[in-house]
Symmetry: C2
Subunit: 391 residues, 2 copies
Amino acid sequence: MYKLTYLDSGVCSSEGFFADGVSAGLKANSALDMAFIYSDAPCDVASVFTTNKMAAAPIKHFKAKGDFQTNFVLINSKNANAMTGVAGVKDIDEIMQNFSDKLNPVMSSTGVIGVRLPKEKIIAGTKLFDITQKNPSNAARAIMTTDSFSKECAYKVELDDGSSFSIGAMAKGAGMINPAMATMLCFITTDADVPAHEMQKILDEATKTTFNAASVDGDTSTNDTVMVLANKKSGAYDKEAFADALYKIMLFLAREMVRDGEGATKLVTYNVTGAKDDKEAEIAAKALSDSLLVKTALYGEDPNWGRIASTIGASGVASDEMSLKISFDNVCVYDKGEVYFDAEMEKKAAIVMTHKKFTINCDLGIAKGSFKAYGCDLGYEYVKINADYRT
Amino acid sequence: MYKLTYLDSGVCSSEGFFADGVSAGLKANSALDMAFIYSDAPCDVASVFTTNKMAAAPIKHFKAKGDFQTNFVLINSKNANAMTGVAGVKDIDEIMQNFSDKLNPVMSSTGVIGVRLPKEKIIAGTKLFDITQKNPSNAARAIMTTDSFSKECAYKVELDDGSSFSIGAMAKGAGMINPAMATMLCFITTDADVPAHEMQKILDEATKTTFNAASVDGDTSTNDTVMVLANKKSGAYDKEAFADALYKIMLFLAREMVRDGEGATKLVTYNVTGAKDDKEAEIAAKALSDSLLVKTALYGEDPNWGRIASTIGASGVASDEMSLKISFDNVCVYDKGEVYFDAEMEKKAAIVMTHKKFTINCDLGIAKGSFKAYGCDLGYEYVKINADYRT
């Protein structure tokens, strides 16, 4: 047994971690655009990166290191340092010369693709860093791009033997979020005494049902990064408690990212059950969260279950109109050939759709496979944000 | 050698074919909503249907027949007769009792999913049919749903020996168009003396690079149908000429459907070359035509080539930023690590994007695989049409 307590100190929740955000003039109006995370003790690192073949320079830079420890992460928004070739990686080396007192400093970037980093601005910005600061919410704001709010989450984990550790995190999301990883950055810090190899496995496992189950627009970015830094300073650890707390933090942040999807007004859980197996449930759930026709119906608050059935059928998983059941929360609209869709039921279903959060349950009625995916609606704001992003 | 001449008589271009559209009150304001195609001689049939597992009742009804000839097709818009179970198929049988004088009459439907056909209205509508009429453009208008214009195409094919045949077609598209077939109906008539088995093969082959290369929103409907009716009345046939004319007609209609995609303002050809093989080129080209971030950038007329590179990378095909080349028509914006994207080049690329039709060329620089996909932009109108579709 163990006890989780929510903390509001983000990536500075664990002993020995410091963070802050500064303005280096990358964003307009002196908005925060550069962040650091510093640990006063070396950290083991677990990480998950984009599957995109055009992975950005910071990811190539990180991967070139092999296994290593670090105590410093530098993050900039507004420029992704992607599609910048060998020069983009060299730019990072040059910037890192300013951190020769740090242990294997790591960089992470998010923003526009195909433009070289403004090195001078960034180096000037790093001069503003004060590594004795604990301003996690500044760091969380500095990594935002089209996010409309910053995203943080942290828990203190108390074990039965009286020992305790903490896990804290910040993330950015908004656009380009996709089941196969997302344009998202997430940095997680912990003082748990977690063995490095175990940490990577726990992170991989949690990613499948959290960040990889979240979709805003089905695109997968060049820069997706989830990184866990563990400085072991608490000396405390319990595998089950650590995995549970990490999962809860990642699920919360994944759902926050979808809720803050570009132009999104609703957070919808697609709960697919009764599939041939879990993999087929995942395929169907992600097809729903990615379907433009479903997303626009959500935006219009139209309980158009026909589009849901059609999307499941189009996904290619084992399914049949005579075994399928669809409910909006607990309002059943279609059950194995019976359409529960008179005016009264339509009204009830339409009311569910006005909620900020609800669940679309699809029981395929084939076998026992299940998966939950998280998606949002798509409205005019998404088009506005993405038609005008660079300008 | 052979000669193709464009005809403006749609599905009535071939000898012995008759067609018309009537208003049965399914659509508002007495708009045309039911169509027929009749042939005064029995027709062999070739067909391609949706891969959606929730295939609509008319498709189940058709497939239950096995191999057969027909001389009559009845089409209604406004109601898809999908997710209507056994009752939906029985409804078709009942309607077909009014066509007992016809040979294996076939039905096809498009519209809202999950609502039973208004049988009485449809049967009353069929009483208005006059099978001696040749009004192909009425038929083409009657099958429209959210289409903003009707789609027809026909060629006369003159062979070297002085014989000739014709092929004519009508189609509807607009929403839910997708590489793996589309909510599209397409009916093609011909008096060519084409052997039935050869006709199916030629249709399958042409479908891959025409309708299956066209995308509006990446969704695949329950009702997609392409049907070719051949009454052989000309006695003339040449395989190469027939295949070429059929391909040209299908490509024209596929591109017209994309051009008329819901809310679309641009028709974009994604010409992927240099891929590992043709299959990988197809994957990359379709990923581009389906990408929301690319589609919204098109709408914003923003030559944001970074999103194109990112989408190719995310598609999983063999690709590398150091071998990739991207051009908008003939304006190169990225070439193997070199960004040709100064203010002047950006202006030139932005001008290309203001055109109604243009090509985005992506040379992956890996091997010789190539594929062309057809897509459109996504703007406010798409959201408006789809958020409000049923209401």
